[in-house]
Symmetry: C2
Subunit: 237 residues, 2 copies
């Protein structure tokens, strides 16, 4: 079991783990495709514009898509689920003999892609591999409310976790998140999360980010993160 | 506008802000009630068992309900929305003249109550006022997945934010969250978040919590939080 798990993680490692819930690498803009003949799920890429996106979000998306043309930036696709094999590899790695087969698990999907269009997390991440940094464009919908009229701090923390993780370029786990909330984010507004890899020490990755308004005048949050690279030679159990 | 806002926040203050999305104080177990004749929404209390709750969660719930009988503990109800007036007060306080009236806002609801029963955040918080601490019983559903088979770090951060906030006893905003993720949480399992108020300095509240398995043997996370009491005499804009 460990050997197959290790092989699976090596495969995940090779994919550089940079696409959330990603079944396979894909740089095209096809909204959906079928991966394996045994899979019934058609994987839709959710990091593309939909009618709920505001003018600000669409405009920024177009600007970054232009930056992708010379290859310096790339858009990271985003899926609700990983492929079945990858999912099993991860479960075995983390849960080992304690692996459960609850029926609820069959419904499992990525946290940030669980809401209908426009109601929850609308976002896309662009990555600059040479500069080891990413830019996440995020519009938090009405189902992400905390104090009335404002984005929930937990929703912001979630996007910060994802944005920092997108800089890691590998299969990783979050070990520490330290977030300073400077100003509350109005619900349904667009923010820009700039993340970067600051330092690499063995399997430890030290990252930081800031969250700003589209015009960059308002600093909403600053955060640091410590992520640990998973060791494909070892199970965590 | 400021005066009415101030009056509104005083009222919120008086309610001690301890119930998420709470329209008014309520200690009974009525699942739903109508507050104002002008309101069309019937406020359902979501911090009560539903068929998706696991045996572990129900058992812990029953244990804490027993502790409530002598008044040392209380169950905190939880609603998707605050009353219309409170919502308007908050929006005015935070957003002032920049208050927007986007149609999406009409759908606004508490982040952690946006999923169908069992798919997202299933939780209930019990509070011990004398000891300035709370216990949050949390079952993270299949729509909160991060790495396959595991709870998303952002979902855990969200619950930590809410659990710490439940100790504050006032209208507050999160200023800092510092979370150490020790071990990943299996999806659909139940965890217990013990939170406490460590120190109060003026408007600053310093809090801490830990997240453990039901049998207390596994420490999943530890966190500290700094929350700031809102000043009802001032608008934030």
């Amino acid at each position: 079991m460990l050997r197959s798990c290790t092989a699976g993680l090596r495969s995940i490692w090779a994919l550089r783990g940079r696409r959330e819930g990603a079944p396979r690498l894909s740089m095209d803009l096809q909204p959906a495709r079928r991966l394996f003949s045994t899979e019934k799920v058609i994987h839709k890429d959710w990091a593309l514009p939909n009618p709920s996106w505001s003018k600000d979000l669409k405009l920024l998306f177009d600007q970054f898509m232009k930056k992708c043309e010379d290859g310096s930036w790339e858009r990271l696709p985003s899926y609700k689920r990983r492929s079945t094999q990858e999912s099993e590899d991860f479960k075995t790695y983390f849960l080992g003999s304690a692996l459960q087969t609850q029926s609820l698990w069959k419904k499992a999907q990525l946290f940030t892609r669980g809401f209908e269009d426009g109601l929850g997390f609308e976002y896309v991440i662009f990555k600059n591999n040479d500069e080891k940094r990413t830019v996440c464009l995020f519009q938090g919908g009405p189902y992400l409310q905390g104090v009335p009229g404002l984005l929930h701090g937990g929703a912001m923390a979630t996007m910060i976790d994802i944005a920092l993780g997108s800089c890691t370029g590998g299969a990783v786990m979050t070990a520490n998140l330290n977030i300073n909330f400077k100003r509350p984010v109005p619900l349904c507004s667009v923010v820009v999360i700039n993340s970067q890899l600051d330092k690499l020490e063995g399997r430890k990755l030290f990252l930081s980010c800031n969250v700003r308004s589209v015009d960059e005048k308002t600093l909403y949050s600053e955060a640091t993160g410590l992520f640990i690279k998973l060791d494909p030679e070892k199970s965590s159990t």
